[in-house]
Amino acid sequence: MSKQIPRHRAKTILHPKGIEVISFEEMYQAKSKKRIMFNLHRVSFYHLFWFKGEDCSLHIKGEKINIENNNLLFLNKDVIHQYSLNTCEGEIILFASSFLGNTQEKINFINTCSLFKSDYSIIRPRSEHFVFLLNTYFSFMKRKTDKSKDHELSILRNNLHNLLMIAERECSQQIIKYGTTFSFSLISQFNSLLDEYYKTQKQVNFYADELDVSERKLSQIVVKAFGITAKEYINEKIFIEAKRLLKYSTFSQKEIANEIGFDLTYFVKFFKKHNDTTPGQFRKNG
């Protein structure tokens, strides 16, 4: 039997429109959220924290992350985390992907923005100007909170999109190169196919067939977007899932191997190739 980490869906704790802008203080006072936030949990929506004050921390994937004054932290969906009990202040934006991605352009943004590719990113402001922008956008978004009005929701959406873009700009500094629209939508389709089929289908040609492009073309586009080949990208996805299961479930190694569609021997071999340790050692070292 496994002890499951609870996964909360956006529907149950997030505002039905898929967006909330609240301060830490308000968050602590919301009963439905309080019950969840101080325990290990994961949720199906994104967080954007803006920390104010010196003594701030957050537990992400079992690690205590210390955060400095004025830092911005983007937390991806489905990442296991836990709030720390401290006197930290700040603002939080909670949003679902369905809220932000109402147009193709914004879906493309989600699929190519580097923030959405890692478990979490900390953005340290390098200039006064950036802090000024954070201030302006957050106060703007706090003012526009009548979610029953469509135009106010649109304003919130535009502001959130801008906030993420300036955060992305601040943390990458290098210019992100956009491909053509064709490769955008292909990558996003590839990602969703992968989510659905990675357990049973591990060959690039399956995905290329589904997407109706040649294997070569798919790999080219993946290399351009992520810097690794399509095959490596698929393996990476499986490896991350394996690590997740090892760390947070009580499944045996054999069950985990089964779960991701390998036999046990191959699973151990696969894992060693990616991590230089065996699954058993990885689990022990935590």
Binding site: T136, K149, H151, S154
Partner: protein, 277 residues
């Protein structure tokens, strides 16, 4: 490759002569949209002008192309924001644009109601973003800010949420697009009702609800607007313009005089002179 100069968006201070370079660059300068944020007034203006044009510090004006040189001649301190229709990309943004700029088409200049600081904030953020180095995010950030500005502006004027989601809005915007295209050749209302596929009565009701005016008035104003543009920006003769608008010359001159208080020739001379500062 897209860059700052060809994304279809510009903003600069009123005291910057770059404006004139921009105008020489633009082949179709008349079809750009202008938002003017007045910050300071240096030299005192005559009372007639202030009464007519709502020029006061902190006012946000929507201005039609032909009046822009006139504003430059007033020695104002302020920010000018210019963008093309194609910059707006999505249908939602285009619709917003049509709603906000509707009355600007008729009157040449409209002061917009500002309820709080948010609209100023949007314009200020646009200015800052535009002055930052160009990258692939810049057009999207500017467009979001512009869209927010338009949304805030419509929310004060057209606050009725139910009306905004009704089919009346759709009809009114369809009419608006058709008038843009056909005003000079088709002056009869049944033509437009037929094109949209609704009765004349529904058309009248839609326009009354959304724009608070009649189809007849819109068509007439659009003819004034389009001929005014041609008089200022094209090199066509007045006779030619009259024919294109479907009038004989003497009627056109009378019509134009009624609307602008000036004959086409005098109008052309006045505004052409302003352009060649």
């Amino acid at each position: 490759m897209e860059n700052k100069n060809n994304m279809g968006f510009w903003t600069f201070p009123m005291e910057n002569p770059e404006y004139y370079h921009l105008h020489r660059m633009q082949e179709n300068q008349a079809s750009l949209f202008y938002i003017l944020w007045i910050q300071e007034i240096h030299s005192p203006l005559s009372p007639e002008i202030t009464e007519l044009l709502h020029i006061r510090p902190d006012a946000i004006l929507l201005v039609d192309a032909y009046l822009i040189p006139f504003f430059f001649s007033l020695n104002l301190k302020g920010q000018l924001i210019v963008f093309s229709e194609s910059f707006c990309r999505t249908k939602e943004n285009m619709d917003l644009l049509k709603l906000v700029f509707f009355h600007c088409h008729d009157e040449g200049v409209v002061e917009i109601d500002t309820l709080n600081e948010s609209q100023h904030e949007c314009l200020h953020l646009m200015e800052m973003e535009y002055n930052a180095p160009y990258d692939s995010f810049q057009p999207a950030i500017l467009l979001n800010l512009l869209s927010n500005f338009l949304l805030l502006t419509t929310s004060y004027t057209y606050y009725d949420e139910q009306l905004m989601q009704s089919h009346f809005l759709d009809y009114a915007l369809q009419f608006e697009n058709l008038v843009d295209k056909y005003a000079l050749t088709e002056k009869k209302i049944p033509f437009y009702a037929f094109q949209i596929g609704i009765t004349e009565k529904t058309l009248v009701k839609s326009l009354q609800l959304i724009f608070n005016t009649s189809p007849k008035a819109i068509i007439k104003n659009r003819i004034i607007f389009l001929t005014r543009r041609m008089v200022v920006f094209s090199e066509k003769s007045i006779t030619q313009i009259a024919h294109e608008a479907g009038f004989d010359v003497s009627y056109f001159v009378k019509f134009f005089f009624q609307a602008t208080g000036m004959s086409p020739k005098a109008f052309r001379e006045k505004y052409a002179a302003l352009f060649n500062v």
